[in-house]
Symmetry: C3
Subunit: 255 residues, 3 copies
């Protein structure tokens, strides 16, 4: 987006609209995610109005994905069960036209996991959310825009400033708070929010940017009330539950 | 229970008595439950004085159930490991005379899970706790009372008003708060509380009604202090820990 | 340690120094731990500045341990996956000179688990953290000092007063609060803190004593602000995040 004012306007509007649609429509988001993140991810999704489900069972996951509005595939604690579940789920998403989001957790620290993530890029994720080290491990020397273009996806690189790019557009989001890095599964929950927003916003770049803006703004608001990471984790759920379009617009730092 | 006043009196008394016995006796409750719910379920059980255990390992679960005072079987994230664990655990419960409670999570969304749940009804659960959609998937067109009678169990259907029925008696509980639906595993934890109460209250209908009354009253008290689902989840644990018979009697809406 | 004043001084200093090093160095702690404890354990480690990882996958765990600064092996919810992961991880720890800590949860309630724990003692854990019942199941009739000496390890027995001993020295820590027993995974998280402290403190006795002092002091501070176990769990994370050497020195009850 060439005009900062346009980008801010578009993303803040998309975030406000997405929140409204999540609360009104209660979309189902099926999550393949790591053991550590399941509880917090479910609570983030519930806080914004979604219905999360988390089964990994090969007999069941195809049916859950078929009836879901979006799918998250997070590669944390990747094991044989999750590999098998992911293959079934991604195929079901393709068969039923469900958007899915990839979060390749810690692929910078595990060669087999990075290879598995690369294989999944062929199955057309709507978005890939990851941090800088993970992006470097996945993208060889491509820029986010090049990577997004060559894989036909949206890439959302989290960091002090988040960057969201598709092949043609890019936005940065400078919201968030350092306490977000002190609560486990915060990034994983961010990826789940991207999937949730994509369920109600067909423009995947806007959906990803809206999700990261929501989470970043909620993090800033929560930090104002928190004494540390324990109270912060509760406060960010409270804030997401109470978040409104006016706060998003007033606080969003989108360029 | 034909007389509302009697029902209120019986259930409020049973709930107060159960709380006292849980705190004094610290019964062991073994839980087969889904990954998402394990942490919150353990914390709910600890808050009322129980000792939870959660292993699914086939070598160990029989021994844990044999020494437990009650068993919970929750079908969330049902996988091969949980199916195997459930079969061993339910048999151990029968062999050692331990009451067990079934929570057939999401059977309205999974045909194989619904079939598995139906198979378990032959093993005489003391109670089945579930929501309306799950009950409809399990009970064909039976009413709760018919279902309870034909399976020799107690059925506890959660909703805005909870209904607890055995073949002869029925009570409704109108406690609770909408934030309870925004915290993952709240229903699962409710089923664990039913198992805990059944460990100290031999009348399974009173045990189930007592558990749902405790949780509903705690939810109402917690909502008065909460700013959203994050602070609410902490507050309901605090409230269960501090709950007393007088509050239960004053707040219970049992008919 | 023969002199109480020396013990207090040594342990309080070690705890303050460890906190500083954890925050400055952000050591990686790989955890094999039970499903129930993963989230809270990760949050405790993050609160003091560590980077936790939790994968159990046999393809990956060796690589994670090789790059970690310490390893925790907690035997809760011990299943085939965790047994296999443990064997790989403990071997990787030996190959790469990484210290590891054993927490043999509930071995007093499971014969096969106790046998597995005994087998692990041959692989030289830097420390074993457990409660009195678990120690009795592991140690036959040995005292903590005898057990520590014969296995070349440090033993940390938690209870109202914690005891930490190696073959030559012993300290007791009388910090902590009864609410710690009402939050699931508090002991498990304590063992993870022992591993974290051992990553930055080569004297394993001081490391274990420092970790239990941190947790006990944090528990006392948190209890002053908590209304029950829900707010307590958040408050102990907040307190660990904000803990300083002066508070440790002022509050530590070490002998």
């Amino acid at each position: 987006m060439h005009h900062p004012a346009t980008a801010l306007n578009d993303v803040a509007s998309a975030a406000g609209r997405a929140l409204e649609r999540l609360r009104a429509g209660a979309p189902r988001v099926h999550c393949i995610t790591n053991n550590v993140a399941q509880n917090f991810t479910a609570n983030v999704l519930l806080a914004v109005g979604c219905v999360p489900s988390m089964t990994l069972s090969p007999e069941e996951i195809g049916g859950f994905v078929a009836k879901a509005d979006a799918l998250l595939v997070n590669l944390g604690t990747l094991d044989a069960e999750r590999r098998a579940a992911t293959e079934i789920a991604v195929r079901a998403a393709a068969d039923h036209g469900r958007p899915w989001v990839l979060d390749p957790v810690f692929i910078d620290r595990s060669v087999p996991r990075a290879a598995f993530a690369r294989g999944l890029l062929g199955s057309q994720p709507a978005a890939v959310r990851l941090n800088r080290a993970e992006f470097a491990a996945l993208a060889d020397a491509q820029t986010p825009a090049e990577f997004a273009r060559s894989h036909g996806t949206v890439v959302a690189v989290s960091g002090e400033t988040d960057l969201v790019a598709d092949g043609a557009r890019a936005v940065t989001i400078a919201n968030g708070h350092s306490l977000m890095a002190r609560v486990t599964a915060m990034g994983c929950a961010g990826s789940a929010l991207v999937a949730a927003c994509r369920a109600v916003e067909p423009d995947a770049l806007l959906a990803a940017a809206a999700a990261l803006t929501m989470l970043g703004v909620a993090g800033e608001c929560a930090a104002e009330k928190a004494q540390g990471p324990g109270s912060f984790a509760a406060a960010i759920l409270d804030t997401l539950y109470n978040l409104d379009a006016a706060t998003l617009r007033a606080r969003a730092k989108v360029n």
